[in-house]
């Protein structure tokens, strides 16, 4: 009988060994398999996770604290004021905020259709063998450092804009009523439009790759039913894929918007850094991030520095809101924010 054998063995053992020895052996076995380390490991991983929360909260608190002097002095006119004058210590953020929003808007206006075109091509038309390699190539656009986009913009796109594109646009669109004033002024090459165009290329890979993931969620049956009834590729895209993935596509575009709002180096190269509001999109302007990159290290005087930090806080809040919208939209198609 095995049961009897076990109990008799145990009793024999416990009678042979003193109780202390048994306990010591048990402890040794437990230590060897590492039960003791368990709370340490659990604590370490919790602490690491908590660090992320602490970092995020302290960014918010510190930026708010440091920008208090500027908000206290200028109040709401910090946001609505349009003069930025370090000499007289007067700071209004409107040109920077407007520049940020307008360049990002241009980026989306040009970048989103391009990205959707790329994604629809890859999802519906691309030969299977080329698909992976083209997808990887398009995603490489996201890996190129932003400073490289800046240099490319300054040395390739700016001359092109100044010599060919802007004079042509001024000639065609300048005389038009109402919209004409958007296309006025000398063709510098640098300015709001150029910055927006570079941004549109930079946001393209993000929008394309998230949209492509969304398109993959369209049920095959739905797609094939449409093709089966004789729908053309364009009709399938327009009537089936885009309506089905609407949230995902809007989420992808919002993601691109978030990237465009915060982009710094590429914009700094080509925007011209002028704190002025101008109707023309050819005029030099500035964005929040470009102002920070250009001026922060040279900002002497506490009010100047506090105003720049307040600009940073405004940018953080704007991207925060855009991110929450993106997250909600992508969550509804079970997609996470891409890296």
């Amino acid at each position: 009988m095995p049961d009897n054998v076990a109990t008799s063995l145990e009793s024999a053992l416990s009678s042979a060994l003193p109780a202390q020895a048994v306990a010591a052996t048990r402890r040794a076995v437990r230590a060897a398999s590492g039960t003791r380390f368990e709370p340490v490991f659990g604590f370490l991983s919790r602490a690491a996770a908590f660090l992320l929360v602490a970092a995020m909260v302290s960014i918010f608190i510190l930026l708010t604290y440091e920008s208090l002097p500027a908000f206290r002095k200028f109040g709401l006119s910090f946001i609505t004021g349009s003069s930025w004058n370090p000499v007289s210590d007067m700071f209004g953020a409107l040109p920077s905020i407007a520049g940020t929003l307008i360049t990002s808007l241009i980026a989306i206006v040009f970048g989103a259709p391009l990205a959707l075109g790329v994604a629809l091509f890859l999802s519906e038309l691309c030969p299977f063998r080329l698909r992976q390699i083209i997808t990887t190539t398009v995603e490489l656009l996201a890996a190129v450092p932003s400073i490289i986009y800046g240099m490319w913009g300054l040395f390739v796109l700016v001359p092109l804009m100044a010599k060919n594109i802007q004079p042509a646009l001024i000639g065609w669109l300048g005389p038009l009523p109402y919209v004409g004033s958007l296309f006025e002024g000398p063709p510098f090459g640098i300015g709001i439009l150029t910055a927006g165009l570079i941004l549109s290329i930079m946001v393209l890979p993000f929008i394309a790759s998230v949209s492509l993931q969304a398109f993959a969620t369209v049920p095959v049956a739905l797609r094939e039913a449409a093709y089966g009834t004789g729908a053309s590729v364009w009709e399938v895209c327009r009537r089936i894929i885009l309506p089905y993935t609407r949230n995902g596509v809007i989420g992808a575009i919002m993601l691109g918007l978030g990237r465009a709002l915060g982009e710094t180096m590429a914009v700094t190269f080509v925007i011209g850094n002028a704190h002025r509001l101008h109707a023309s999109i050819f005029a030099p302007g500035t964005t929040i991030s470009a102002s920070l990159a250009n001026e922060f290290t040279e900002a002497f005087g506490s009010m100047y520095q506090s105003s720049l930090l307040a600009l940073g806080l405004i940018l953080f809040v704007i991207t925060f809101i855009v991110l929450i919208i993106t997250r909600t939209l992508l969550h509804s198609i079970n997609r996470k924010l891409p890296l």
Partner: protein, 283 residues
């Protein structure tokens, strides 16, 4: 009933037009990438001499290289990754193992998403207020810490995602034979997810190697060969920024050589990480 040939023709033309536009969009985006790489190769490779690696950044009008900037960049990035990897992997482990469904886990995940997409210049501002302002001077450590905060969320996210791919039956089997929880994580979870975690680390490395904005007011720049992390230190992206915007020809040439170097590094890292990931998924 026969379909109206006019409508058919109209639909066919519309289809041709729109699919043509899709192809055009693709060609435009690939064309821009080609143009960037072409310009970099054309202008970068000519000035890509041994001096770039051997000499320090020059005064305008004299010969020099990017030696101090390259070493500075390597130091900043290496320290950032060294700090980010343990913290990131542990936090990712928390999200995938301990806090998978907990409230704290959701909060951490949310903060990680915010950090992931926060503009990098904001991270620079943050480090400026906590390190540069109190100490009164720019430093390599400050630059490194800001790169670390940018690398962290990437590592956290990939670690969590890769650990989630490990089947729960493996976990249960380990627990069932009496393995402590942490041991199970280390010898089963981390081991199975290793290629994925390495991918995340490489991605983070690629991301921070080209990062410029947060360094502008943390590690600043240094035209001398100073390799002290306690003082301002030169880094490749910041030097490229300064030199490319300058009116001096020699500086612009060095900027192109640096831009070529950094793009080749970052793109190879990014392709390598992709390759590693697809190899890891295969097993």
């Amino acid at each position: 009933m026969k379909p109206d040939p006019g409508i058919l023709l109209q639909r066919r033309i519309k289809n041709r037009l729109m699919t043509g536009l899709f192809l055009l969009a693709l060609l435009v985006s690939l064309g821009v990438l080609a143009s960037i790489l072409w310009k970099l190769t054309l202008d970068g490779i000519g000035y890509f001499t041994p001096a770039v690696f051997l000499k320090s950044t020059p005064a305008p009008g004299t010969a020099g290289g990017l030696f101090n900037a390259i070493v500075g960049s390597i130091m900043l990035v290496a320290c950032a990754i060294l700090f980010a990897v343990p913290i990131g992997v542990l936090a990712g482990t928390y999200l995938a193992e301990y806090g998978r469904h907990s409230r704290l886990g959701q909060v951490v995940r949310f903060c990680n998403d915010i950090l992931l997409s926060a503009p990098s210049i904001i991270i620079g501002l943050f480090i400026y207020t906590i390190m540069v302002m109190p100490s009164g001077h720019f430093s390599g450590w400050a630059g490194s810490l800001s790169l670390c905060i940018i690398a962290l969320p990437v590592i956290v996210r990939t670690t969590e995602d890769m650990l989630r791919l490990v089947p729960d039956t493996l976990r249960e089997a380990a627990i069932a034979v009496g393995c402590p929880y942490w041991r199970m994580i280390v010898s089963i979870g981390w081991k199975a997810a290793l290629p994925g975690i390495l991918t995340g680390i490489l991605l983070a490395l690629a991301r921070v190697s080209g990062e410029t904005a947060p360094l502008l007011f943390t590690s600043l720049n240094n035209q001398f060969s100073s390799f002290s992390m306690n003082g301002p230190i030169a880094s490749l992206p910041v030097v490229i920024f300064q030199f490319a915007m300058s009116p001096y020809r020699d500086w612009q040439h060095l900027a192109w050589a640096g831009a070529f170097l950094i793009t080749v590094t970052v793109l190879s890292l990014s392709i390598l990480s992709r390759h590693l990931f697809s190899a890891g998924k295969g097993t």
